[in-house]
């Protein structure tokens, strides 16, 4: 077991800063050589300008407990592949300051046929939100902040 964990390549999930449209385009491009794929589904979380007690959110600032987070993400990855018929899946999450309108979460799922890709995407997003130790501050225009909580 320990041996297995040591040799298994952990996929990089956390990125410093926003996830750019160019990064997403490159991922799509990289999947075009996989001729067994018929359907992709991509979820993207974008930082929304929420208004909290009259103050506008201008950015989110993310941090994480990276060792535990990577362990949880590996479990989510394995259980998703057990549950759904997917060709591949990728998860990316931003760390640091992400401004309103920028993308901070990307879940990219591919399969031979489409039926399960929607549900698989939703399943992964929900588990990332509820189980992975990622912390976020909502930064207001006056640079004050409030800690965000997923329900």
């Amino acid at each position: 077991m320990h041996q297995k964990l040591m040799t298994k390549k952990t996929k990089q999930v956390f990125l410093q800063g926003k996830i750019t449209p160019e990064f997403i385009a490159e991922m799509i491009q990289n999947h075009q050589t996989k001729s067994e794929i018929g359907a992709h589904n991509i979820f993207m979380g974008q930082v929304r300008k929420d208004v909290i007690e009259g103050k506008n959110v201008t950015a989110l600032h993310f941090s994480c407990y990276e060792e535990m987070a990577n362990k949880k993400l590996e479990i989510i990855r394995e259980e998703t592949f057990e549950k759904y018929h997917l060709t591949c899946m990728h998860i990316y999450h931003s760390l640091g300051r992400i401004n309103v309108g920028e993308i901070c979460l990307l879940v990219f799922v591919s399969a031979g046929h489409r039926p399960e890709v929607y549900e698989a995407t939703e399943y992964i997003v929900n588990r990332v939100k509820s189980e992975v130790p990622i912390f976020g501050k909502e930064i207001f225009e006056d640079e004050s902040h409030q800690w965000k909580k997923n329900i």
């Binding site: 941090s63 994480c64 362990k71 999450h93 939100k129 997923n150």
Partner: protein, 76 residues
């Protein structure tokens, strides 16, 4: 024993980790957090070796354990 703090907890304790010699179980850690940093039980979660434990759990903590106090998750 090394205790790490993350998210809002690190803000409230004003540190990312500290070494506590007197803590031997989960209950004493909780008591320490309440008294020293005025935290409420609803404000934090405790992870032992990367797994969240029940706050009510009576559990001994070993020097070798990786212990972290976390605020609410906010990914996505």
């Amino acid at each position: 024993m090394e205790i790490s703090y993350f998210g809002e907890i690190a803000e409230k304790t004003n540190k990312t980790s500290e070494n506590l010699q007197e803590i031997s179980d989960v209950n004493s850690l909780i008591t320490f957090l309440k008294i020293t940093y005025h935290l409420n039980e609803s404000d934090f979660q405790i992870a032992v070796n990367h797994s969240i434990i029940e706050i009510s759990e009576e559990k001994n903590l070993e020097e070798i354990d990786e212990i972290a106090v976390l605020s609410a998750f906010a990914g996505g």
